[in-house]
Point group: C2
Chain length 328, copies 2
C-alpha cells in the first residue's frame, strides 16, 4: 500500500505534512510517495530530525496557491505538487492521493487527470462532520452547486457505501437534507430526488432536517453542493462562536479559572470532538481512484489520520463496487 501525499499543500506545509507522513509510516504500515520540492523536503527532514524511511520523494517544482483560479490551476501549473501527484495516482504509482491544498483545484484536477468512475455523473466532496454518535457524511458539499435528482441518488449510494466499507457502519442510514420531514417539503430538486432515493438507495430513511444532523439522525446526509456547503459553513461558524462563548465563561474571574483547570481534560476532548480533522479528510467520491482532501490547516496529526483513511479507502474495494453498480 502506497499513499501519495501532496507535501506542499495547506497552511502548515511542508513541515506538518512530512511529520504526519512519518508518523503514518509507523502507525499505519504504509509507504508514502511525497510530492513536492525535493530539496526543501530533504533539508526540512534533516533539520528537524524526521526519518524519511519508507518515503520516496517525487519532485515537483511548483505549488498551487489559494489565490489561483481553481478551475484552471492544475492545467496552468502542470509541475505543481498537486498536478504531479494526481498524475502519479492516475499512472498507478500509488494507491491513493491526499492534499491539504486548494479544494477547488483538487476537485477540478482529480476529475481532469484521474477521471470519474464509469457511470458516475458527478464526483462529490464528502466531508465527515462531528456528530453525537460518531462522524456523519455530508455529500455533496460544494463540488456541484447545481444538481439533478439523479446526481443526488448517486451521492446517496456512494456515501452509504463509503460509510459501510471504509467507516465500518453495518447499515448506514441515509437522509435527504430538507426543511421538513414531510414528502411535500423542499424545492423541485428535493421533491424529485425523494422517490429516486427511496427506490434506489439502501438504508434511505427520507428527509432529514439539519437540526437533527449533529444529533446522529443519519449516517449520510445527501444534498446539492450549495446546500451542503451552507450546512458545513454554518456548523463551522457555530463551532467557533460557541467555543468562544465557553471560553468567556471560564475567563471571568479567578474562581472560574480554577474551574477551568478541573475540566481541562474534558474541554480538550470537547474541542477535539468539534475538530473536523480528527474524523479525517473529505473523500472525493466518484473519482476512479481514492482522492482525499485534508483540511487546509491540517497539522501532523490530521495528516496521519488522512493517511489511515486513504489506506482504508484504497483497501475497501468500494470504487470497483460503485463502477459495477452504476454501469449495470
Amino acid at each position: 500500500m502506497k499513499v501519495i501525499v501532496d507535501a506542499m499543500g495547506g497552511d502548515n506545509a511542508p513541515l506538518e505534512i512530512i511529520k504526519g507522513c512519518a508518523a503514518a509510516v509507523q502507525s499505519q504500515d504504509v509507504d508514502i510517495l511525497l510530492v513536492g520540492d525535493e530539496q526543501i523536503i530533504r533539508r526540512l527532514a534533516q533539520e528537524q530530525g524526521i526519518s524519511l524511511a519508507r518515503m520516496e520523494i517525487l519532485h515537483a517544482s511548483e505549488v498551487i496557491t489559494m489565490e489561483e483560479d481553481p478551475s484552471t490551476a492544475v492545467r496552468r501549473k502542470p509541475d505543481s505538487s498537486m498536478a504531479v501527484g494526481l498524475k502519479a495516482l492516475a499512472g498507478g504509482e500509488g494507491d491513493a492521493f491526499i492534499s491539504a491544498g486548494s479544494t477547488g483545484a483538487l476537485l477540478t484536477g482529480a476529475t481532469l487527470l484521474v477521471k470519474r468512475i464509469k457511470g458516475v455523473k458527478r464526483a462529490a466532496l464528502s466531508p465527515l462532520l462531528p456528530g453525537k454518535d460518531g462522524p456523519v457524511m455530508l455529500i455533496d458539499c460544494g463540488a456541484n452547486v447545481e444538481c439533478t435528482p439523479e446526481y443526488l441518488l448517486q451521492f446517496g449510494v456512494m456515501g452509504s457505501l463509503y460509510m459501510k466499507k471504509v467507516c465500518g457502519i453495518a447499515s448506514p442510514r441515509v437522509g435527504l437534507a430538507n426543511i421538513g420531514t414531510e414528502e411535500c417539503k423542499g424545492g423541485d430538486l428535493q421533491r424529485a430526488a425523494l422517490p429516486l432515493l427511496t427506490e434506489g438507495c439502501d438504508g434511505f430513511v427520507g428527509n432529514v432536517e439539519p437540526s437533527n444532523i449533529p444529533l446522529g439522525a443519519v449516517d449520510v446526509v445527501v444534498c446539492d453542493g450549495f446546500t451542503g456547503n451552507i450546512i458545513l459553513k454554518t456548523i463551522e461558524g457555530m463551532g467557533k462562536f460557541l467555543s468562544g462563548k465557553v471560553k468567556e465563561v471560564f475567563l471571568k474571574n479567578t474562581l472560574t479559572k480554577l474551574a477551568a483547570l478541573a475540566v481541562k481534560g474534558g474541554l480538550k476532548a470537547f474541542k477535539s470532538s468539534l475538530d473536523a480533522s480528527e474524523a479525517g479528510g473529505a473523500p472525493f467520491l466518484g473519482i476512479s481512484k481514492p482522492v482525499i482532501k485534508a483540511h487546509g490547516n491540517s497539522n501532523a496529526r490530521a495528516v496521519e489520520c488522512a493517511v489511515r483513511q486513504a489506506k482504508f479507502f484504497a483497501q475497501s474495494g468500494m470504487i470497483e463496487e460503485i463502477g459495477e453498480r452504476f454501469t449495470k
Copy 2:
C-alpha cells in the same frame, strides 16, 4: 398601544402566554387583547392569581393544532384563536399580533387576512439569531422556498429597515448568504440577486458565508426560504449538540461538578445567549401590520419579550416606509 396575542398557540399555551402578557402590561406599558377561550383564560387567571388588568379577552372557540395543514388551517377554522386574532388586527382592533402557534398557518393566515404591503412581492419570516455582537436577522427563513432575485432585494431592504428602526442599529450591514464571497459564487439566484442588492439595498456588503454569520459579519442575512431554513435548523442542531457536549464535561466526576458550581452563572448566560426567544420572536416582514411569530415553546419571559418587540415594531413606522419605498 394595544397588542393582540393568540392565547392558545404554542406548547405552553395558554398559561405561559397569559403570564407573559401580565408581565408585559407591567414592564411595557401596553394594553393586551387576548384571543382564545374566554372561560379557560378567566379560570386559569383566577386559579393562578394572574391579574388581567389592561387585558381584554376576545373569545375564540377553536385552536389550530400543529397537525393541521398550514395552508388551509385558517380558512378551515375561522373561529380559531389565530384566525380571530388576525381578523382583529386587520380590523384595527389592535396594533400588532403575536402567536406562538403553527408558523405555516400564521404565514398563510397573515397573507390572507391582513394582506401584504402594497408593492411587496412576498412576505418573509425573519427570525433574529444569536450572534457575537447581538442578534442577526435571517430573511427569509422558510416562507418562500422558491425565490426570484427581486424577492431577495426586497428582503434585504425590509430586513435593513427593521434592524434600523426596531432594533436601533444605526447602519445595518446586509449580506447575501452564499458559499463564497466572490461574485461568481452560488447558483443562478445568488448571481442574479447580487447586482440587484448592490444597487438597491443600503448597507449591502456582498456575499456572506454562513461561517461568519454567528461571528457578527453582518446584521441582516438575505436568502431564499429554503437556504434560510437550512441555516436556522443547522444552528438549532449545533446549539443542542454543543450544549449537550458541555454538560457532559461537567457531569464527569465530583471535581467537575464542583467546577460547574463555579461557572454556574456564566453557563446560564451562555445558554440564554443561545436561546432564540431572548432576542424575541420572528417578525413576518412585508405584511401590512406587525405580525410576530413567537417560538413554539415560548415561556412567559419569551412572550413578554415578543410583546416588547411588537410594540417597538408598531411604533417604528417601518411598514409605512416600506409601502412608500416599494410603490415608487
